[in-house]
């Protein structure tokens, strides 16, 4: 490496380091993103505000209401006595679910007839409604079983005589089924894309705006030297962010890291090629930072949405699934989860690594040659 490049890299570093506030923002941002996402991103439903309309007020109706009070997913806050009240609570959003136990509930159970029970959900949050409806159905199931148990006992029959069937479920790679284990490795990839691509694009365009890039171009520095000088700080920032994010993932969220750390760093580096390449490309087509921001936004939003980071790719329509193969982030997300959670090696990761290599290399080479052509 020529001493010119080293001087250039040094200069770039001094420039970045001179601005401690910027540095702080650069490193605080991924930490905050990671922590918020790690805690928030779950479809589990807890503390759902719950209203009970018990028209029957009998032994069995109270028994079933008790079951809801005992379940952690519901926060039984209101006991109401009319549909009008119920409507108001749901309109105002103070209650999300209401259980309606109709008159004659107790009598019907005692007679062996089917006893209806109604749950009314605030469907304006469809996700919570579906999940909590599942919880309620399983509470109902338990209740039915205990009623049957009681009926058999009256006849002197033990339910155990009929045996049972149970499902022993095991979750590989994520034994406790924590959502943060799923989300956090993906966030590492998303942060790399959002931060590094946009920052590098904005950085280069800023110099264009200030005219400092032209000053460098008229010096004897060669285009590729200039490029290396400009990109090195971002590569280092990216690595510091990745390591930071990984440490938080492992020590704060206790996400298992089962794979090979070196392979992990190597593959993150591979992802930096298309990311910095795109950053460069954006800086080529933008005159102002505002334009650079718009362009990187137009690139990063679809990338993140379609990468499988939150929404599984296999659920997407076939056409869109095919399109996701063009997104480097898609491969990185799979690779990151594989290394973090599955601890798998290159033999399984290879099918995601080679497209990343080819795509990344292609984007990188294209932008770099265009960049060099432009400045020389």
């Amino acid at each position: 490496m020529s001493p010119r490049i080293i001087h250039l890299i040094k200069k770039e570093f001094i420039q970045v380091m001179r601005d401690p506030r910027m540095l702080f923002i650069i490193f605080a941002a991924p930490v905050i993103q990671l922590i918020v996402l790690g805690y928030v991103a779950t479809t589990e439903v807890k503390n759902l505000s719950f209203a009970v309309y018990d028209q029957d007020n009998s032994f069995h109706s109270r028994q079933i209401v008790e079951k809801f009070k005992g379940a952690g997913s519901f926060d039984v806050r209101y006991s109401i006595s009319s549909y009008g009240q119920l409507r108001k609570l749901l309109d105002a959003g103070s209650a999300r679910v209401a259980l309606v136990v109709g008159r004659g509930f107790d009598k019907k159970i005692k007679r062996g007839e089917t006893a209806p029970i109604q749950a009314i959900f605030d469907g304006s949050d469809a996700n919570s409604a579906v999940v909590s409806s599942g919880y309620i159905a399983s509470i109902m199931q338990d209740f039915s079983t205990s009623i049957l148990d009681g009926r058999l006992a009256k006849k002197g029959i033990d339910m155990e005589w009929f045996g049972s069937l149970s499902n022993k479920a095991r979750f590989w790679f994520n034994e406790e089924l924590k959502s943060s284990n799923f989300m956090v490795p993906g966030v590492v990839g998303a942060i790399l894309l959002i931060q590094i691509m946009t920052l590098s694009a904005l950085g280069v365009v800023k110099e264009k705006e200030y005219g400092t890039l032209e000053q460098l171009i008229v010096t004897p520095i060669r285009p590729h030297e200039l490029l290396i000088g400009k990109m090195t700080p971002y590569i280092i920032i990216a690595y510091v962010e990745v390591i930071f994010a990984t440490l938080i993932a492992v020590f704060w969220f206790h996400v298992p890291f089962r794979g090979n750390p070196l392979l992990f760093l190597l593959l993150c580096g591979m992802f930096l090629m298309p990311t910095l390449g795109m950053g460069l490309f954006i800086s080529l087509v933008s005159r102002t930072q505002y334009q650079a921001f718009l362009t990187s936004y137009l690139v990063s939003l679809p990338s993140i949405m379609l990468s499988g980071f939150i929404f599984p790719i296999e659920n997407m329509p076939k056409v869109i699934q095919a399109f996701t193969h063009l997104l480097p982030l898609r491969y990185l997300v799979t690779v990151l989860r594989g290394i973090f959670l599955k601890g798998i090696g290159i033999q399984y990761l290879w099918k995601d690594v080679w497209p990343l290599l080819i795509l990344g290399g292609l984007i990188f080479v294209l932008s770099v040659t265009r960049f060099e052509k432009k400045i020389s």
Partner: protein
């Protein structure tokens, strides 16, 4: 003075639309998001790739298996011989789950013993895994209930379960078919407005300051508030254009209807824009470069309005600290308003607390940023 604001806004408009990229962000992104959420992004779990090991190979086990394959949730694609083959399938990501039926399965069911099956899930996507497990449990329970019914009948005890004990009747008010677009369309309006108002405005102001064009305006007789208004008015127009665009596509393409009052929706959207533009202004007074403005806007506006507003993840389920933070996220209040008007058709008597919160935030933010703006350019 009025004409000065209008002139400034005109200049800004020309400025904005000279660049086709803006049209991309203003027109393409909302449409893209709508169609993406409408067609591509779903956490529904169906056709899970399943491996099956049936060590029992009896009529009963086959009956049991057919319950899985007929459910539509499970596609039995692999029939591995043993668990180590399951491991390889799971490592390579080919299956979501494996169902293992032990050799003595049928014998135990028939003899009234405790039968146990085993399921192994790829836990990487915890959401998919837990939903898959609940499907398996439901199918298993139903299968056993049928068996139990048969056994009770044999003993002449069928009057005990002649009728189902409970009939669970779930009703989903405001969205009876649980069509996800019904609640995503209003949510997307909220996200798009946040992006437009906070990100775009802060970026445009900071970008101009860096280029020095703002200084040129400052030495002119234009007053600070005129300058700010002139900058913001075009974005308010763009925001309303986007609201209309999303409503129109939502309605005409996805059939999402607005149950409430459209005028109220516009009025309260304006109140939200007020606070959301306030955030954009504050950011522009804090950030010194485009890079800074971008990251700060991402952190204080984009991230909270998507993650902490209740757009996708329910606020009630969050840890206490984040629930507390969500109280100062304007999008949270706007989401209550816009879903309320869209889906519930409720009026101002239910929406005033959220409106008041937005007004307070908006006023505080705008006052603070005007003050900071003045100090900065003086």
């Amino acid at each position: 003075m009025k004409s000065r604001i209008i002139t400034l806004s005109k200049k800004e408009f020309i400025h904005i639309f000279r660049d086709p990229r803006t049209i991309g962000v203003v027109v393409f992104i909302p449409i893209f998001l709508l169609f993406l959420f409408g067609y591509a992004l779903t956490i529904d779990v169906k056709h899970l790739s399943t491996a099956l090991i049936d060590n029992s190979r009896t009529n009963i086990s086959r009956q049991f298996i057919s319950k899985f394959s007929n459910s539509g949730y499970f596609d039995i694609r692999y029939r591995p011989e043993n668990v180590s083959q399951v491991k390889a399938l799971m490592d390579s990501g080919k299956i979501h789950l494996a169902i293992i039926i032990p050799e003595d399965f049928s014998k135990k069911i028939l003899s009234g013993n405790h039968a146990e099956m085993q399921t192994i899930y790829d836990g990487v996507n915890s959401n998919t895994a837990s939903i898959a497990r609940s499907y398996v449990d439901a199918i298993t329970a139903e299968f056993f209930r049928e068996k139990l019914k048969g056994m009770l009948e044999k003993r002449g005890l069928d009057e005990l379960i002649k009728h189902d004990i409970l009939k669970y009747d779930p009703r989903f008010w405001f969205n009876p078919t649980l069509e996800s677009m019904n609640f995503l369309v209003p949510g997307l309006i909220c996200v798009i407005l946040t992006i437009l108002s906070a990100l775009l405005t802060s970026m445009t102001i900071v970008s101009e300051r860096e280029k020095g064009t703002i200084e040129k305006l400052i030495v002119s007789p234009v007053k600070t508030y005129e300058l700010i208004l002139g900058k913001l008015i075009p974005y308010i127009f763009i925001a309303f254009f986007d609201i209309l665009l999303v409503i129109a596509i939502g309605n005409l393409w996805f059939g999402v209807a607005i149950k409430g009052n459209l005028l109220l929706l516009f009025a309260l959207s304006f109140v939200f824009l007020f606070s959301s533009l306030g955030i954009g202004l504050i950011i522009s007074t804090i950030a010194r470069s485009g890079q800074e403005a971008y990251i700060i806007a991402l952190l204080v506006s984009m991230l909270p309005s998507i993650l902490l507003s209740g757009f996708h993840f329910p606020i009630a389920s969050m840890p206490l600290v984040l629930r507390g933070i969500s109280l100062i996220v304007p999008a949270r209040y706007y989401l209550v308003i816009i879903r309320g008007i869209f889906m519930k058709g409720i009026g101002f008597q239910y929406l005033w607390p959220s409106t008041l919160a937005l007004l307070i935030f908006g006023t505080a933010l705008v006052l603070l940023s005007t003050w900071r703006f003045k100090r900065k350019i003086d």
